[in-house]
């Protein structure tokens, strides 16, 4: 029976793949609302660029390095350029490897897009494209191999349902490194740099949550119990995070904030990502409530520092992912997951496995990202000039504006005789 395709599983995984792909434009909307209006398009485009670049690198070598063979550090090149990826079931699942590959590709895409949150409003678009291509292979594919592809963490017993290590901690701690290498925005800490559209932020968060049902619900590659559990936990956990976040907002500022709510949705979804299929619904709700605390604290603390990790990827993804991974070590329950118990149910060893992942994942992501960006910085400038930053990345990098009026715009046609002057990007 092992070499058979299950049509129900396959149908769900086709839908789940589409849901997860939608999360990247949703993230674009979320991020775009959080930046100033002159950087709306550039911020969104970094997410679009992640779809472009990471899909290509994933098909070329990323998938193979993550999922070909069970080498302890990286996979092989056997599936490079999708060689041998076809309709036969992927080992350990009952879905065609093509679907498996596409599903995993959408994870790689959104992780690359997540990192962009650390460097928006000043990183050059070209440099980001180069970074995205290399990062998707050198960091994401390797971490995915460790956690999902039979690498040393998975082989050692670390449980990670839908990407606490590669996606959440991978992006969060890489974001910190990227913010440190690229440096703060020129006006950071001197002027108020405010989100320009909180409605985008809420809508983006809502669409992310919607897509996350595919992300976590598809993490078991089936329609079986673990997927059902993860799916339902994806509803329960973020709702509890929201409630606690409201309370924290009330205590700190006497008002419940909209952008705080959007952040809480993301934090809750992240926290349940690694744990979704391993803990009971009750513990998922507890996880959602507790995960709000460290992420909230990091956001409050980070904005007082000189570290311009602009959109708080570390707090929302790194920290919540870290928390979720450790939580499994305490509260995983064999009766629910059929795999392993945590410390609370008498298996202390599981906590050790989880702690190992919670240290190794961030350390690798931070170090490699730091070195990678330093190296790219030797070849090309990472950030735009101060002048360009002041003008806004939309007009400088893309020659477009998000909120263009058209008043006073002169159409340039071959007959009009107006010579197109150099775009602003070339003169500034």
């Amino acid at each position: 029976m092992s070499a058979q395709i299950d049509t129900g599983d396959t149908a769900w995984m086709l839908v789940a793949t589409a849901l997860v792909l939608m999360m990247t434009p949703a993230l674009g909307l979320f991020y775009a609302g959080l930046v100033r209006s002159k950087n709306t398009l550039n911020t969104f485009m970094m997410c679009v660029a992640a779809i472009a670049v990471a899909t290509v690198t994933w098909a070329a070598v990323g998938y193979s390095l993550a999922f070909d063979g069970d080498g302890s550090i990286v996979g092989g090149f056997g599936n490079a350029f999708l060689n041998g990826v076809d309709f036969l079931p992927r080992e350990g699942t009952r879905i065609p490897e093509l679907v498996f590959m596409a599903f995993q590709a959408t994870f790689c895409i959104i992780t690359v897009a997540l990192v962009s949150g650390a460097v928006v409003e000043r990183m050059r678009f070209g440099a980001f494209l180069v970074f995205a291509a290399l990062w998707s292979v050198l960091v994401y594919a390797v971490l995915a191999h460790w956690a999902f592809g039979g690498g040393w963490l998975q082989a050692g017993g670390t449980l990670d349902f839908a990407g606490g290590v590669p996606v959440e901690m991978g992006s969060g701690f890489s974001a910190l490194a990227a913010a440190l290498v690229v440096g703060a925005r020129k006006d950071y800490g001197r002027q108020a740099l405010l989100p320009h559209n909180a409605v985008y932020v809420l809508l983006g968060a809502g669409l992310l949550w919607f897509g996350w049902f595919g992300f976590n619900g598809g993490g078991g590659f089936s329609t079986g119990s673990s997927s059902v559990l993860a799916f339902t936990n994806t509803l329960l956990c973020p709702a509890c995070t929201l409630v606690v976040w409201f309370t924290l907002d009330l205590i700190r500022g006497r008002k419940v904030t909209a952008i705080g709510a959007a952040t809480a949705i993301v934090v809750g979804c992240v926290a349940i990502t690694p744990a979704g299929g391993f803990i009971s619904p009750g513990w998922a709700m507890a996880l959602g409530a507790l995960a709000a605390l460290p992420s909230y604290a990091i956001i409050v603390w980070r904005t007082r520092t000189r570290v311009d990790e602009t959109l708080d990827v570390l707090a929302a993804h790194g920290m919540a992912g870290f928390f979720g991974i450790l939580f499994i070590g305490f509260f995983a329950e064999f009766a629910w997951n059929g795999v392993s118990d945590g410390l609370f149910y008498g298996n202390a060893a599981q906590l050790g496995d989880q702690a190992l992942a919670a240290l190794a994942g961030p350390a690798y992501a931070f170090t490699v990202t730091f070195v990678l960006l330093k190296l790219i910085g030797l070849v090309m400038p990472l950030r735009a000039s101060e002048n360009q930053e002041a003008l806004g990345m939309d007009v400088v990098q893309h020659g477009e504006e998000a909120y263009v009026t058209g008043e006073g715009a002169i159409l340039i046609t071959p007959e009009s005789g107006i010579e197109a002057e150099l775009p602003v990007a070339d003169i500034a």
Binding site: G399, A409, E421
Partner: protein, 115 residues
């Protein structure tokens, strides 16, 4: 006094005004055309030259002895050295009235302690 400055320098200007003890500013977003190079933007194959650029217009009413300080602050805050830094127009003010109290002229443009 009317100042037309770059939107990205508006915060610097406000800071400079604050340091020069000039309180009481009205700001509006305007689009204008000076001597700067025009931006070329493309939307789905339609290429356009943006004839006007975004500026911020500040209106500040000050008494005579504050004129130089205000001009200085505007210049200091708004200057980048590139074409397009903006203009300052100093114009005489016929009358000024504070609506709340009916104070006129000097009394109307002198800030009062709040509270």
């Amino acid at each position: 006094m009317i100042g037309i400055v770059r939107p990205e320098k508006a915060n610097d200007v406000l800071e400079a005004l604050y340091r020069a003890d000039v309180r009481g500013v009205s700001m509006s977003r305007v689009q204008g055309h000076g001597g700067e190079l025009e931006r070329v933007e493309t939307y789905r194959g339609t290429t356009v030259q943006m004839g006007r650029s975004e500026k911020v217009r500040l209106e500040i009413a000050v008494s005579d002895e504050f004129v130089d300080a205000t001009v200085g602050a505007l210049c200091e805050g708004a200057r980048t050295g590139e074409v397009g830094d903006g203009k300052i127009f100093v114009v005489p003010l016929e009358q000024a009235i504070r609506i709340r109290t009916g104070d006129t002229d000097m009394g109307a443009v002198t800030p009062v302690d709040k509270g």
